[in-house]
Amino acid sequence: MSLTQQRPSAVSSALAKDRLGVPSVVFFVISAAAPLMVVAGSVPTAYEVTGVIGVPFAFLMLGAIFALFAVGYVTMARHVVNAGAFYAYAAQGLGRTQGVATAWVALLAYNALQLGLYGIIGSATEPLLLDWFGASPPWWVIALVAWAVTGLLGLLRVDINGKILSVLLVSEIAVVLVFDIGDLLHPAASGVSFEGFNPGSLFVPGVGAALATVVAGFAGIESSVVFAEESRDRNRTVPLATYLGIAIIAILYAISAWAQTVPTGPDGIVKAASEQQTELIFNQAAAHMGSGVSTIGSVLFVTSSMACMIAFHNTTARYIFALGRENVLPSMFGRTSARTAAPIAGSVLQTALGLIVIIVYAIFGLDPVTKLFFTFGTFGGLGLLTLLAITSISVIVFFARNPSGETVWRTRVAPGLATLALCVIIGMTLMNFDTALGVAPDSVIRWILPGIFVVAIILGGVWARVLKATRPEVYANIGLGAQAVSGGSK
């Protein structure tokens, strides 16, 4: 017996060849976060809508909070089934009813983040089309093309190939850095100001709105634990990749958000962002380095938005699939497309929702960037914050109930601090939700949107109780994802 175990296992080493190392996981994680899309799309929109200059500091602060959150998150990921989904943490930490409620919040949040992207693709593509052909169709035509491509690729289960993704990602980061250097070499007349990194410039009215946007920029980072089963070393690869991903994103975004303010000066950034919107950084680049560099950036902005759209489409479709397999959603959603191995029903549902949103926005003539991209992004960001807070609480409760020899820092202190920080941010976001949406402070819509999450939580809880009463065997498997059919393991 001991002889066989000392020999390296042929099975393990054969399977290990297909496994992912730290760099691959980091690539997967950051690419879902789509750097250029955030730097060119989210950041100027955040300046424009919120008028807050402290966005760079917000990225650093939230990076720190995400890292704090990740401590408990990756620790619990080693101990739970279906570690890729937030609701699995709630189900296995707090209870199955809370798990279903969390699942509904997650569905809403991911959906919002994905649908919001249809708002940015138009404004990303328009300048290029104008440049090349002298004319451009309205944003919703471009959005519909992107919608069709995303829907088709989703059905065919084309995840953008890892190599293409890496090339795109590296070029995106390179372009962002080149733009940053260009900005830094051409400061405003008043000189280089570090006002953006001053905490005082973040904590002004509108801070909550800025924070919610910035959070959406980090969306995708939580997917690192999905790769736990597929990584070389479950205990090392995933935590390392998660922290690295958070650090890279936080620092890159903070520097880039700050660099945008350098040529205009901190006083001019809000005005410049309002006038030029998503073209801001490309106009800056064109002024500093010529139109060639700027055009490369614009093309990558489009590909970045598309890649992000496909990533979120597939994430959401898989989420729906996992819930279908558990029978929490109708089991129809757990069906697989035999031909392409795609989670077919979830994918179709996503595509249908996308069409409805694009059509509604086109008919009512609403602004795609501020009203679709930014509003949905903020709404999704608020949902994501809620999910992070619930997950942190779940970590504390899970380890209180299942002592496992992990350190107190990982099981209590870090998740506790993360919960506290996240709750404060949620509070600030709610206080400033009118700014985030660009409506009057007494508008009802500012309460309706967060209210949707409350309704989702209540309905999710009620649905879980119904399941418990009518289909206890389904209730028992909540939170197990694809493993629900086997009654789970570990």
Binding site: T4, Q5, S9, A10, V11, A14, L15, D18, F28, G84, R157, D159, G162, S223, V226, F227, E229, E230, N314, R318, F321, A322, R325, S331, G334, R335, T336, S337, A338, R339, T340, A341, A342, P343, G481, A482, Q483, V485, S486, G487, G488, S489, K490
Partner: protein, 203 residues
């Protein structure tokens, strides 16, 4: 049985696949392990949540493919069945095709100018027979023999039921699987789990 599953998930004349290769491989891996279970070379050690393959007898199986699988399990008995499914799925598609070519069930794949053509069945009627048996059983709502119950379970587990079978009745499928001995039931369930995970996986 792997041969039968192969015929069910491929067209009986053209040999074109009805299933995504990844799902087909996982299903075929389940079928080969099913052959060993039915031949009583191995059984399942049902630890809660960690079903392991347990070798009953090391007697030769008389077939290189199943013998190879059995040898692997004998050499490293500690892996859970899910690991075996992943491990054998890597190579099983080619292995089963090769075995069926040797048995003269399939023609060797022809190489066209542009792309490799699928291996076509030697006799379209032989190839259609396993699927016909399942369709007949479903039409009559009468569970087939044990072997075909396993086959039916695996076709459903890989998600091929809606595409391959003439009619898909989830309740009847579940009832048929419930007739099987527990180890075979668990094999089907674990195959469904790895198929589900393959769908969720991002690669």
């Amino acid at each position: 049985m792997a041969d039968d599953l192969f015929f069910v998930i491929h067209h009986n004349v053209t040999g074109r696949a009805r299933l995504h290769p990844r799902l087909a491989s996982l299903g075929l891996a389940g079928a080969v392990i099913g052959e060993l279970l039915l031949a009583e070379r191995v059984t399942l050690d049902l630890a809660p949540g960690r079903d392991r393959l347990y070798v009953i007898t090391k007697n030769a199986t008389g077939d290189p493919l199943t013998q190879n699988v059995l040898d692997h399990v004998v050499a490293e008995p500690h892996h859970p069945i899910v690991t075996w499914l992943h491990f054998f799925a890597r190579t099983i598609y080619a292995d089963v095709t090769a075995r069926m070519i040797t048995k003269q069930l399939l023609n060797p794949p022809a190489r066209n100018l542009l792309k490799q053509q699928p291996a076509t069945p030697v006799d379209a009627n032989t190839a259609a027979w396993p699927l016909a048996r399942l369709n007949l059983a479903i039409q009559r709502r009468k569970p087939p023999v044990i072997r075909d119950c396993v086959l039916y379970g695996l076709v459903v587990a890989t998600g091929g039921a809606a595409r391959a079978l003439r009619e898909h009745d989830a309740a009847f499928a579940a009832a048929t699987t419930a007739l099987l001995p527990v180890p075979l039931q668990r094999l089907i369930v674990q195959t469904e789990v790895v198929v589900g995970e393959a769908v969720i996986s991002r690669r």
